[in-house]
């Protein structure tokens, strides 16, 4: 197998290296790739969509159909991970573990009918080895709001600077994953329930595809945002810019929820118990 792999890799490499001699050299401004499609994008984007960030405009408008399915790929991966791993209807464990937050002492309660009432100073844990680290938890708790704020900035400012729905969505998702890593999965799940997360994934993509379908209902082609002008009361070119913002928000939601979804399922083998 090793020799076979080596032969295939070397053969492919040789073929590819042999053909590079026909390629334009690096950074050549007169290469076909830089002279056929891209000048139109660079020179016309601002007047056709009123978005200064050309990548955003091409991503969400000129090739918005690609991006819709890109979001769908992520959604599909989330559904597939859930479908493959989630263990449904798990039996309640016969005993529960509680840890006293101040002393780090762990209580083991076997009779579930007699769970003590005043558990304010205790937190529920799933395994005895769950680490307890005050510094990490505090730092993360302080940082997470700023991370989320930055994520929202990245989503909202995608028209004028590098950023957009995917980047912002991933940062937003990472903030929840950080919560799950620094505390545990249970705490993170109390902030964003599994059901809500699952629905949010679909809603995010639905915002995108729904915007496209709305354009279709308004009489223009699928994903032609200039149809939104009549609803938003702006001119068709500004409507394109607003349409891009709407779909970016959808993308952000879908990416955030799916990242969390995939992390939850893979890190806990679908049991939703202990984080890493």
């Amino acid at each position: 197998m090793k020799i076979l792999g080596l032969i295939i890799a070397v053969l492919t490499g040789t073929l590819l290296i042999y053909t590079t001699s026909d390629f334009p050299s690096w950074g050549d401004p007169s290469s076909p790739a830089s002279t056929h499609l891209s000048p139109h994008y660079i020179e016309k984007t601002l007047e056709e969509t009123s978005v200064p960030n050309i990548v955003t405009a091409v991503l969400a408008d000129y090739r918005g159909y690609d991006t819709m399915f890109e979001t769908t790929v992520i959604f599909g991966a989330g559904v597939a991970c859930f479908f493959l791993l989630r263990v449904p209807r798990r039996k309640e464990p016969v005993e529960r573990l509680y840890r006293h937050t101040l002393t780090g002492m762990t209580l083991r309660i076997k009779d579930l009918d007699e769970v003590p009432e005043n558990l304010d100073e205790f937190e529920r844990i799933d395994t005895l080895w769950a680490p307890y680290d005050l510094i990490i938890k505090t730092v993360c708790r302080l940082l997470i709001p700023f991370i989320q704020l930055f994520a929202l900035y990245v989503i909202a400012h995608g028209h004028h600077s590098p950023g957009g729905g995917f980047q912002g969505g991933v940062i937003l998702g990472a903030s929840f994953i950080l919560l799950a890593v620094s505390y545990d999965l249970r705490t993170a799940k109390e902030r964003l329930r599994e059901k809500l997360g699952g629905i949010l994934c679909a809603v995010g993509v639905l915002i995108y595809a729904g915007t496209g379908a709305l354009c279709l209902l308004l009489g223009l082609n699928f994903l032609d945002y200039s149809a939104l002008a009549s609803i938003l009361h702006v001119d068709p070119i500004t409507a394109r810019s607003h349409g891009i913002l709407i779909v970016e928000i959808g993308v952000g939601l879908a990416v955030m929820a799916t990242m969390i979804w995939i992390y939850d399922n893979i890190s806990s083998e679908g049991k939703y118990e202990e984080g890493l």
């Binding site: 053909t19 076909p32 690609d66 597939a80 449904p88 699952g198 595809a209 082609n221």
Partner: protein, 495 residues
């Protein structure tokens, strides 16, 4: 409204998949009806689109209203109009037929299953309808990823076989992407028609040759063309029957469509058949694929695995038919996309019914099953006749075109391979039917409830019977299909 059929065809299943996903969390009983309605609408739209293509010629649709080389456009001609109908009909019939087995296999995960199922259909439809080379890659990955999810929930070995499929599938898709990158670097375009327009002066370029080879290898990996087939048999055999009933008939066929589209529209037949002198080699490779598929199938003692090897053999038919490079061979290959999708669906629906009742698919499980499930096995007989190629079933006609094309091109090796595989198919199915008919029933070790086994429920039988009937009807109307649709699907310059 009919001008929006292309958009409806893809958008309806996509939106439906999202609604199903939400319904899976809120009210599970809605999942199946939404799926059926969505696929029915898609089927309706696909038929409407095909009729429009027949009347008006090629249909273009601009997504987002942008001009094609800058935006993405759909491009529907006779070829993909036909394949779209095939995809919709097969997906719809299998969905209805598989409902019971889905309820049986995944009682807790109905929502995600239907979501993945409909998303996969969306991906396949998108691959077939698009006119943009990069967009095809994205949809390829949608169909592939959802396919991995659907396949991996089968029996104990399913996860491992699917993981192997994932490695191979990803390499295949990446090779395709790389090929598109090569085309992009020399032409600067991603739109298929635009690339074809720019390419002719570059025919001698090494980069275009590399792009062609890389794209072909990628697509062959995905369609399990021998010797790149190793992932397919295990992945399909261990899959749940509802998934294999969708994936086995469609994925390989859609990938063959992609190959045809690359040859016809992107690289143009002029380049593929005249500039490159590789046709002969590829036809021989196809002949070897047919023979090897048949031999592997002969060695199997498991129904689903045998069917999987038959698919590998059939892929050889179609690849060979295209590379014959003449009108008869290509007509046979395109016709065989339609026929083979129906035949494979028929076989896998039979397997699905048997698995539903007996929970097994090895030959030992089939003993005496003819008396217990006469209708299912009757359908298997029709499917078998079609695979063997007995008139008036449709399998005969595509094989006829393929053979006459091969004779025209002087490829007698290919003719011999076709005849050999027909003979092997006779042996294969005779052996199955002999076991099912003559062996005594009741040796089902470890399966317990042998007494209660009877015919599969009506909702599984009806789609199966429709497919079996379809095999004969398509066979009878082959002449019309070829005259009305397929002859326009093949570029005029090919004689």
């Amino acid at each position: 409204m009919s001008s929006q059929y292309p958009a409806l065809l893809v958008a309806t299943p996509l939106l439906a998949a999202l609604f199903i996903s939400i319904a899976g969390w809120v009210y599970k009983k809605l999942c199946f009806p939404i799926a059926v309605v969505a696929l029915s609408v898609a089927t309706y739209a696909s038929i409407g689109l095909l009729l429009r293509v027949l009347n008006e010629g090629v249909v273009h649709y601009r997504l987002g209203g942008w001009e094609p080389p800058w935006g993405i456009a759909y491009y529907v001609d006779h070829l993909n109009g036909l394949v779209l109908v095939v995809v919709c009909v097969v997906a719809l019939l299998n969905l209805i037929g598989a409902k019971k087995s889905i309820d049986q296999d995944f009682p807790d995960k109905i929502g995600p299953f239907y979501t993945l199922y409909i998303l996969m259909v969306t991906g396949l439809l998108g691959i077939v309808i698009t006119g943009d080379a990069f967009n095809l890659y994205v949809l390829l990955e949608i169909a592939a990823l959802t396919g991995y999810g659907l396949l991996a929930m089968g029996d104990k070995r399913a996860a491992l076989s699917t993981l192997n499929y994932l490695y191979m599938g990803t390499i295949g898709a990446c090779f395709y992407l790389l090929g598109v990158g090569y085309l992009y670097i020399v032409t600067g375009s991603l739109n298929m028609a635009d690339i074809a327009r720019i390419l002719p002066p570059l025919y001698e370029s090494k980069a275009v040759l590399a792009a062609f080879i890389i794209c072909m290898v990628g697509v062959w990996l995905k369609m399990a063309f021998f010797p790149l087939h190793a992932w397919l048999p295990n992945a399909y055999t261990h899959a749940p029957s509802a998934s294999s009933g969708l994936i086995a008939p469609l994925v390989t066929k859609v990938m063959i469509y992609v190959m045809i589209r690359l040859i016809f529209t992107v690289f143009t037949p002029e380049y593929a058949f005249n500039t490159l002198a590789l046709s002969n080699a590829f036809v021989w490779l196809a002949a070897i694929a047919i023979v090897m598929g048949a031999l592997f199938a002969l060695a199997e003692r498991n129904l689903k695995k045998m069917f999987s090897y038959i698919i590998i053999s059939e892929v050889g038919y179609m690849v060979g038919g295209i590379w014959l490079g003449n009108r008869a061979g290509m007509t046979g290959a395109v016709l065989h996309i339609l026929n083979d999708a129906l035949m494979t669906l028929c076989l896998f629906l039979v397997a699905s019914n048997i698995v539903y009742k007996i929970q097994g698919h090895s030959f030992d499980d089939l003993k005496g099953i003819f008396r217990k499930m006469p209708v299912t096995m009757g359908a298997l007989v029709v499917g078998a006749l079609s695979i063997i190629g007995v008139p008036p079933t449709c399998g005969f006609f595509s094989k006829w075109y393929l053979i006459s094309g091969a004779v025209q091109a002087g490829q007698y090796g290919f003719v011999a391979a076709l005849l050999f595989s027909s003979l092997v198919n006779v042996v294969l199915f005779f052996r199955v039917l002999e076991i099912a008919f003559f062996e005594p029933f009741g040796d089902h070790d470890g399966h317990g409830h042998t007494e209660s086994i009877d015919e599969a429920p009506l909702s599984m039988l009806v789609p199966l019977l429709i497919v079996a009937l379809g095999l004969v009807i398509v066979g009878v109307y082959t002449g019309d299909i070829v005259n009305l649709v397929i002859q326009f699907a093949i570029p005029r310059e090919i004689l």
